[in-house]
């Protein structure tokens, strides 16, 4: 069961946002195919540590595909070759002996490289801060069953709410747009009756912040949908556009 393979990593090394960066070639021997991709990087780092060399910096945390902290381009594809999967869930058995694997950070104007494979995704937080919430102070909420919500609507909202904010959609988009990310939150809250009072303001403010952060526009390439580990659908972008147009034309918030 525990087969091993030899691979060659071409890893992006960059000291910080000001550094130019370069690919470093690291041959890795006897990779147990049961390892996850990140465990493979762990063993490379353990080896680098023993040689007194600087570890490859990469962000990760839960290692079960839900926190959204990990992610990089593996052979040019965000989160690697598997569909609906974060990088931490990718296993080395998906590679073959002798493979050369290129590993790069998310590349987007709005995501500055922090170091090596780690990038600054705080722009995504800024988009949420611009309106990705319902203004409901703690306390005083009405009874949870006070407002029935059709099951299909709740399910659609849940589909959108599954976004983990990893930024793969941005990395995959030729325009480095964060429209899929933004639309997931706008959709979730626009679908639910609790979110309607602020829907117009939310769509306008989140999109303005999206643009101001340096994300590009959506030109329907659908690359985002293809790499999204949570399979967030591009129909959410259509809903965002509808919400945005409605807000721009028919509401008082403009």
């Amino acid at each position: 069961m525990s087969d091993t393979i030899n691979i060659t990593l071409k890893v992006w090394r960059q000291k910080g946002p000001g550094d130019k960066g370069h690919f470093e070639t690291i041959p890795v021997k006897d990779v147990v195919t049961h390892m996850s991709f990140l465990e493979m990087l762990d063993t490379v780092n353990e080896q680098l540590a023993l040689e007194g060399k600087d570890a490859i910096a990469f962000d990760n945390d839960c290692r079960e595909g839900i926190c959204g902290m990990c992610g990089c381009l593996v052979n040019g594809i965000a989160h690697g070759p598997m569909k609906a999967m974060t990088l931490c869930q990718l296993h080395m058995r998906k590679f073959s002996n002798g493979d050369t694997i290129a590993v790069e950070p998310w590349r987007a104007r709005a995501f500055k490289v922090v170091k090596d494979l780690a990038v600054d995704r705080s722009a995504l937080d800024k988009i949420i801060q611009a309106g990705g919430y319902i203004s409901a102070n703690t306390g005083g909420a009405p009874d949870a069953n006070g407002l029935p919500i059709p099951m299909e609507i709740a399910e659609k909202a849940m589909d959108a709410a599954a976004c983990i904010g990893c930024g793969a959609c941005v990395a995959a988009c030729p325009n480095a747009s964060a429209m899929l990310f933004t639309s997931a939150k706008v959709s979730q809250l626009a679908l639910l009756p609790q979110g309607r009072p602020e829907a117009a303001k939310r769509a306008i403010n989140m999109m303005r912040t999206h643009d101001a952060c340096g994300f590009g526009n959506c030109s329907n390439e659908r690359e985002c949908e293809a790499v999204c580990p949570k399979e967030i659908k591009i129909t959410n972008i259509a809903r965002l556009n509808r919400e945005y147009i409605k807000a721009s034309i028919g509401s008082d918030v403009m």
Binding site: D42, A55, R63, Q129, Y133, P150, A161
Partner: protein, 639 residues
Amino acid sequence: MQLESKIPAGPLTQKWTKYRGDQKLVNPANKRKYTLICVGTGLAGSAASASLAELGYNVKTFCIQDSPRRAHSIAAQGGINAAKNYPNDGDSIWRLFYDTIKGGDFRAREGNVYRLAEVSADIIDQGVAQGIPFARDYGGLLANRSFGGAQVSRTFYARGQTGQQLLLGAYSSLSRQIATGKVKMYPRREMMDLVIVNGKARGIIVRNLITGEYESHAGDAVLLCTGGYGNVFYLSTNAESCNVGAAVKCWRKGALMANPCFTQIHPTCIPNSGDFQAKLTLMSESLRNDGRVWVPKKKGDTRRPNDIPESERWYYLEEKYPSFGNLVPRDVASRNAKYVCDAGHGVGPTGYAVYLDFSQAIQRDGKDVVQRKYGNLFDMYLNIVDDNPYETPMMIYPASHYAMGGLWVDYELQTTIPGLFALGECNFSDHGANRLGASALMQGLADGYFVIPYTIAPYLASIYGEAGSVTEDHPAFKETTKQVDALFKKLTSINGTRTPDSIHRELGKVMVDEVGMSRNEAGLKKAIDKIRELREEFWKNLRVPGSLNDYNKNVEKAHRVADYLEFAETLAIDALERAESCGCHLREESQSEEGEALRKDDKYCYVAAWEYKGFNQKPELHKEPLVFENVQLTQRSYK
């Protein structure tokens, strides 16, 4: 030291009401004079930061990840309990209280647990108002399910992502307060020490994980919401960055560490497959509803499971516990898995796994039914293990999952250091010796949304004249920073041959073998010696490459492992001192004639709170007796 729990007087059902009626308030116009420091942005930290900022306090919030949305609360799958009684099946605040305190094996305070049950319903209301898409029935009302053996359906859920949705709800409220400027958010910071001025918590030193700089932050109170210490076992279901550091630093400064030996071991995790493994993945316990647990009768049997005939399979749970069978509680399932593996019957590459077999369920109900129930879990297993559980039995093994112990707090969630509060998993307060399924989310949010906004007020009112009086230029900050810097310089100057991870892995093995689900005096003493040796090895032979002034995971891990090496010994000492079987743990000397866990209420019905006495010194035990006026203490039986 006298431990004062500050449980309000009066009947149990009136304590929280009375407390809220009697407590001092801070005038709305004065709230803006206070700055509160909140460390951690899981359910407790995000909820507290948002709620306190909504009230008008200035809040500075810190998290270790790149965004507050990534805290490990996000990984909770199952659900959240609340005494709503929507299904009309007999639930009530009292029943949730009773189930929780009984589930905790009567090692928690009645007053705390009752309050938790009381505010549970408000959490669901709050979540729905925030736009959390909980599961609903066809009529549009909220759906409930029974969880973890509860006899009522009181668990609310959002697919298998309840923790994620609740955390993102709290994160959205937090984000709104960040936008208003009432919360100042500091991501990628790790707390390095607590700053105490005139005996009161007045600030923290954090390390910027990108630049390595130390930063001082002053405030009028410090709220620790930093989660549990499950990673002391190295392999656990916790995230990479979960650590005990912040709590240990406060412990060294005088806060007490309570019941550290109460940790929860979850029976249905995907087993370890080699030394490279960084974490264990939890699968929902619901799998045991239809799966049958077995191991080969022959020791060291290396045949593939499907080649082992029925007569040579040992269904040890069904045999030992005929009435509960594969559905025995978590701790019983966990330790029996350990026993059969220790005895040489284990399977898989390490010999530390047992089979969970669905062939009978598939035969009985058809593959479709099984797929509908467990499809996502089977897919997850297939991806990680590369084996198809529809065709060959799954392999499972227990893993550390949750920490019931933590910093000692009173009813107001205040530690023994005035002005230092601990919320959520990082305190010890509500789950006793064992936590019920779907109760972790409930406690984190209860503390953050509905308890701390009330219970912090009396302290803040008491220091009114001093609000904002301590700033970052106070000498205590400089002094503490100097100590932190000295520690890091020491860690990076040893230049030995061992990485922090390799020592952590060894520590984990000691903890799992001797201090985990089943323990005895000799083993615990051995473990304590071994931990001391490892600590010595660490300070003699550590190697931390790379720069201090940089994004450097080796530096981060090094000081976390240093903290684990100190904390682990106290955990083992606590386990040694508590010579009873309690909650998740079997103390081998304390068993009934049938070999079942025996609690000893006459001797150990107390909270064990440990005071730090210095490096390499034995901590001092303080006992808070537990008084039960409303419930009868009963022993469990699963025969």
